[in-house]
Each structure stands twice: as structure tokens, then as C-alpha cells.
């Protein structure tokens, strides 16, 4: 299973996601990237992230993405 950082790197290889605490304000992820990321996370973790959770605040940092995965039933 890939880590969140590995998945993010596949989508936006040009950025260092471990060096940012705000992917949205730092311009590292846009709305379209979020849709791609959700599909990749769903596939990787065998979950289905609900549409209501596809909001920028859930994709701001590694911590918020981890929290979203936990909420969506992903196993650590």
C-alpha cells in the first residue's frame, strides 16, 4: 500500500509535501487535484470518501488527509 506522501508525489511530483502545512494556500493542490487525489486514495485504501468531505480544509496537510482517511474507514 502506498503512503499519502507517495500518492501526492504521483499527482504533483514537483512539490515537497513534507515541507508544507497548507497545501491549498501554498498552491500545491487545486480543486482538480483534489478530485484526482480522492480517486487515488479510494483505490489505495479500498474506501469511498463521501462527496461532502471533498472540501479544501480536508486536503490542507498530511494530518488533515490522515484524519479524513480515518473518518472514511481506512485501516492504518
Amino acid at each position: 500500500m502506498k503512503t499519502i506522501v507517495e500518492i501526492l508525489k504521483e499527482i504533483r511530483p514537483e512539490f515537497d509535501f513534507t515541507a508544507s502545512h497548507d497545501f491549498i494556500n501554498d498552491g500545491m493542490l487545486d480543486s482538480f487535484d483534489m478530485v484526482t487525489l480522492v480517486a487515488a486514495l479510494d483505490k489505495n485504501y479500498g474506501i469511498s470518501i463521501p462527496g461532502t468531505d471533498i472540501v479544501p480544509e480536508n486536503f490542507q496537510s498530511l494530518q488533515t488527509i490522515e484524519e479524513l482517511l480515518r473518518k472514511s474507514g481506512a485501516k492504518p
Binding site: 504533483r12 511530483p13 514537483e14 512539490f15 494556500n25 501554498d26 498552491g27 500545491m28 487545486d30 480543486s31 482538480f32 478530485v35 463521501p50 462527496g51 461532502t52 471533498i54
Partner: protein, 271 residues
């Protein structure tokens, strides 16, 4: 149809449309500051349905249509009964990869929407190379606002390319987001961009017809890249039929990244 007073109303309506959605579909990706600006200028209205929210934004003599729906069936069902869509001049954008966009087209076609234009996104990764400056390139000033608007309206398609209103240009000038080239005391060309952190988007890049072939466009682009030292990812949208523009962007290292924007227009615009 309800007028919108706050961005909160919009986000609440979006959440309602998303609640319990199994195949949520949308073409609405609002940036809060822009949305608030549209609301403050009385440009936004919404139409609420069970499982769908429709938003209409006034732009000159037509409307932009944005939708959030629990699934494509609900979208099709409510589009069919929207009097606004039947009566007004409307454009809407389907954004995504080719498969996602073409999948939604049959949902909108019965309401009279047909392809009007197609834009493609191009991206350039990495820091800009060092470039020489041009003394005649600088940031637009307040006195340039109307000339900037005029050049944009003469150069771009208002239905397909989301030309800003005068107040948006004023705000962009204040934010130093518009580079201009002057020749003979006239606005010869401009490059309008938006930078957020490590990403920057060129919204418009044009040279007035009488000043073409003087390397003004090139000077604008080099100046832009030079001012964006911290940026790692550069993007822009270009009309997919504009081979000349695409070649120019390729020259500066941009390449298509697979995202397209299919602009649809209803019968009121196409007739």
C-alpha cells in the same frame, strides 16, 4: 430563484446537494474571495432543488451556469425544468479529463447545451530560467484599467474565456497581477496572471494587433517568468483550436496536462 447575500449560503447549498450523493457531479470550484466579490457585485443567483443546487453568475449580456448535483440524473431532471436555462443566454463549463467531460455532455444536451469552444490546460514545471528585462514592461497602473479591459475584450471570446469585469481588473492592478507593455504611449500588450504560493496561472496574454511581430509578447512572458522566482508550477488555459498560441506556450516550456474545459452554450447564445 434566490439572490445570494453571503458565500456561506452558497457553501450550505453545495453541502445539501452533496449530502448522500453517490455520484456527485459539479462544475463549481469557487475560490471564496472571488465568490464573495461576485456576491458583493450582485452577480450571483441560485436555484435550489432536492439533491441539486444551480448557480447563475451575470457576465455582461449572458449568464454562467454552475451546478452541484447528487448525480447526473438529478442534474438532467432539474435542468429540464429550469426556466432560467430556457429563457436566458447561458454558457457552462465542463472541466476534467476527456472521459469525464464527454460523459456529462449527454446530460446537458437535452436542455439545449452544445459545444461552443474547448480549452485545454497547459502546465510548465520548474523554476523559470534567468531572462533579460525590458525597460518598457511594467505593472499596470490605475490609469490603465479601461485600456486593459478594452484590450481583453478585443482579444478574447467573452463566452469562452471568462473576461474579467472592470472591478476585477481594478483589483488585479492593485494586486500587481497585470504586466503591460507600452509603445507610443499606448497599451501595446499585457499579461494577466494569478499567483498562489508555489503555483501561478497566466489568465491572459495578448498583444494589440498593430503591435504584433515586435517581440512584445515575448518580452511580457520573459518578464512574468522572471518575477515568479518562487513558483514551481505554471499553468494556463488556452483555446484548443488556437494552434498559434499553443506553439508559443510550448516554446516557453508549457505542455498539455490532460485537463480540458468544454464550454457549452445554450440555444439563446448560438442562435
Amino acid at each position: 430563484m434566490s439572490p445570494i447575500q453571503t458565500a456561506g449560503q452558497v457553501f450550505e447549498a453545495v453541502q445539501k446537494a452533496k449530502a448522500g450523493a453517490t455520484a456527485y457531479c459539479t462544475n463549481f470550484f469557487p475560490v471564496e474571495s472571488k465568490l464573495q466579490n461576485w456576491i458583493d457585485h450582485d452577480e450571483m443567483e441560485m436555484e435550489l432543488h432536492d439533491g441539486a443546487a444551480f448557480f447563475f453568475r451575470k457576465d455582461r449580456n449572458f449568464l454562467h451556469f454552475y451546478f452541484c448535483a447528487a448525480d447526473a440524473m438529478k442534474l438532467q431532471q432539474y435542468i429540464a425544468i429550469s426556466s432560467k436555462i430556457k429563457m436566458e443566454r447561458i454558457v457552462t463549463d465542463l472541466v476534467g479529463n476527456e472521459a469525464a467531460v464527454t460523459g456529462l455532455l449527454p446530460v446537458l444536451a437535452p436542455a439545449g447545451f452544445q459545444p461552443y469552444a474547448q480549452l485545454q490546460r497547459m502546465a510548465r514545471i520548474g523554476q523559470p530560467e534567468a531572462a533579460s528585462g525590458d525597460a518598457q514592461i511594467g505593472f499596470a497602473e490605475k490609469a490603465d484599467n479601461r485600456a486593459v479591459l478594452g484590450l481583453l475584450e478585443n482579444s478574447f471570446d467573452r463566452y469562452a474565456e471568462q473576461i474579467p469585469m472592470l472591478y476585477e481588473i481594478e483589483s488585479a492592478v492593485d494586486g500587481r497581477q497585470i504586466l503591460v507593455a507600452r509603445r507610443d504611449n499606448m497599451l501595446a500588450g499585457l499579461l494577466f496572471f494569478e499567483t498562489q504560493g508555489l503555483a501561478s496561472t497566466v489568465r491572459f496574454w495578448t498583444v494589440a494587433e498593430q503591435f504584433r511581430s515586435l517581440k512584445i509578447g515575448s518580452a511580457l512572458m520573459q518578464c512574468y517568468l522572471k518575477t515568479q522566482k518562487a513558483v514551481r508550477r505554471f499553468t494556463l488555459w488556452v483555446n484548443a483550436n488556437n494552434e498559434n498560441a499553443i506553439q508559443k506556450y510550448r516554446h516557453y516550456g508549457y505542455a498539455p496536462d490532460g485537463l480540458i474545459d468544454l464550454v457549452l452554450a445554450n440555444k439563446m447564445i448560438r442562435s
